[in-house]
């Protein structure tokens, strides 16, 4: 079933649109840099001061920027359609009239959405590296603590960062799947997940979360930046992983409970 869920996902317009939009971001970013010869103001983004001299910085900056809205957005709209889209097309009842069990179908859909989260992160990293290389070539970069990072480690940092970002993305996707299962509304589920991101960012920005702030889902998106320090502080990275897993498993369990028990009426 997983194979066919992936096949269906790959053939849907919104999937391709999400991947295309993600791929476009580093390209547009490099194009804007080339035209204006002006990077983001210092302090607005990590590595910003090195942007104009070093292409290796491009994927790192775009990854940091994309976690704010772009990646949550493209993931939310695909994950929000996972069940709701099938309900509105009448295909859920068609599939569930066959031998496959609801749990197996749900896990296949969740796995396909997880693969999509990995794919958008990988596309952002891959296209970012390619665009950065074509724009300015690669050179060692200064890490966040000022320690130089070699080109090889810099490339590894990009891929590891993308991998780490995909974990809270999957947790967010799980929330969108939960909304998809409960509301049967694709757009509403996508919007709901994006609203969650905005509310959590607002709560964190205004200091409303208090001691819970380190455990907000949105704050896990920045954990990968710690890989650019020397020595690497593993505690926030490990925390990001288990906190994201906790969010994700909670949403998925709730979604599974509804999916396996709810009457299929359309």
């Amino acid at each position: 079933m997983i194979r066919w869920e992936l096949y269906k996902l790959a053939r849907q317009r919104r999937t391709l649109f999400g991947l295309g939009a993600t791929a476009l971001v580093p390209v547009l970013f490099v194009a804007a840099l080339e035209i204006t010869r002006q990077g983001p103001p210092e302090g607005e983004a990590p590595f910003a001061t090195q942007l104009l001299e070093n292409g290796l910085v491009v994927p790192l900056v775009t990854l940091a920027f994309a976690t704010f809205v772009l990646l949550p957005l493209v993931v939310a709209f695909v994950a929000g359609d996972a069940v709701a889209g099938e309900v509105s097309a009448g295909t859920l009842k068609t599939v569930l009239s066959r031998s496959v069990g609801r749990t197996e179908l749900f896990l296949s859909k969740a796995a396909a959405v997880g693969v999509y989260c990995l794919a958008v992160s990988a596309v952002l990293a891959g296209v970012g590296l390619a665009a950065g290389y074509l724009a300015g070539g690669f050179a060692p970069i200064a890490g966040l603590g000022g320690t130089p990072i070699s080109v090889g480690r810099g490339i590894a940092l990009v891929w590891a960062g993308a991998g780490l970002v995909s974990v809270p993305l999957m947790a967010l996707a799980a929330f969108a799947v939960f909304l998809s299962v409960t509301t049967h509304n694709s757009v509403g589920s996508g919007v709901g997940a994006v609203v969650l991101v905005l509310l959590l960012r607002l709560a964190s920005g205004l200091g409303l979360a208090g001691p819970l702030d380190p455990y907000l889902l949105t704050n896990q998106f920045e954990a990968w930046l710690n890989l650019a320090r020397d020595p690497i502080p593993w505690e926030p990275i490990v925390r990001s992983l288990w906190v994201s897993l906790l969010w994700g498993i909670s949403f998925l369990t709730a979604a599974w409970a509804v999916f396996t028990r709810r009457d299929v009426l359309s």
Binding site: W4, R98, S99, V264
Partner: protein, 307 residues
């Protein structure tokens, strides 16, 4: 093959199906009739395990419908069949075959040939007409090589030619050994195809049995159609006759009988003495035929009576 026992489904305070019981036997083409909102689709959904019965039980081939393996040996569709319109018919069938968890290659070419879609299987479903989608739905059901085929309004949206083809296909499948459970609004179609029927209204069973049993269930209806040259005089004679238990002038002109039509119920001696009385009274009897009530008559009577 399919046994529905005291099946009840409620949605909040609304009772969609109320203590419904019937049984479909091997080899049946079983018609499941009811007006919109009568609970037909809810019942079929429960048969497929898509909705949970509030009360009662449904068994398919001896297994509880919603339980593990409950859909083995059974295939079909409920409401308008849904397909992935961005995929080809072939890919849709492959997805559904994967959902069947079957070992080995599904009999793709055979089922496509059976429904007449061979050659169009690589086209995207969004290019298909309603009739082609219905045929694809039947193909997807046959892919499971079932013993029981459940079809919800299989001729919906088809043109007359498509309906004729669908009926022929259903007959052929039944001759090949499939038991068929068929929900339909088209009563003439059910009359042609089915050997047994259940009529439901407001979620309750109104009549069940062979078509002859169901149609003959109302003993009070006139048993003959009589065409005469003068209905008024004939009615006067019939009302005073001891051989007639009921008579009325038909509201519509008789089709093919000529003259004016009277519907009557004869006493135990049959129609012979009645004809004699009429002729003796100077009324010309143009035709006398048994008035077998149609399934449609009965359906409308049963469902309108209770609404």
């Amino acid at each position: 093959m399919l046994e529905v026992r005291d099946f009840t489904k409620t949605f909040g305070d609304f009772v969609a199906v109320d203590s419904l019981s019937f049984e479909v036997c091997r080899g049946d083409v079983y018609g499941f009739l009811g007006p919109n909102g009568s609970g037909k689709s809810t019942t079929i959904r429960a048969v497929f395990g898509l909705v949970e019965p509030t009360e009662g039980e449904i068994h398919l081939l001896g297994r509880p419908a919603g339980g593990p393996g409950g859909r083995e040996g059974v295939a079909g569709f409920v409401d308008a069949p849904g397909f992935y319109d961005y995929l080809s018919a072939r890919d849709n069938l492959k997805v559904l075959a994967a959902a069947d968890r079957r070992k080995g290659e599904p009999p793709m070419a055979r089922v496509l040939h059976t429904v007449g879609l061979l050659g169009r299987e690589r086209d995207k479903v969004k290019t298909y007409s309603t009739g082609m989608k219905q045929r694809l739905a039947i193909a997807s059901a046959l892919l499971r090589e079932p013993e029981v085929l459940i079809l919800d309004e299989p001729t919906n949206g088809l043109d007359p030619g498509g309906m004729r083809d669908a009926r022929a296909l259903i007959r052929r499948l039944n001759e090949d050994g499939l038991t068929i459970f068929l929900s339909s609004h088209l009563l003439a179609e059910v009359e042609q195809l089915c050997n047994r029927v259940a009529v439901i209204g407001h979620g309750r069973l109104l009549a069940e049995g062979t078509i002859a049993e169901v149609v003959g269930a109302d003993n009070g209806r006139p048993g003959y159609r009589l065409a005469v040259d003068d209905a008024k005089s004939a009615l006067r004679i019939l009302e005073s006759s001891t051989h007639v238990t009921g008579a009325s002038v038909a509201a519509e002109p008789p089709d093919g009988l000529g003259g004016e039509e009277i519907r009557l119920a004869a006493g135990s001696e049959g129609p012979g003495p009645i004809v004699r009385d009429l002729v003796a009274g100077g009324v010309a009897v143009l035709a006398l035929v048994p008035a077998r009530p149609s399934l449609e008559d009965l359906f409308l009577e049963l469902t309108e009576e209770r609404s």
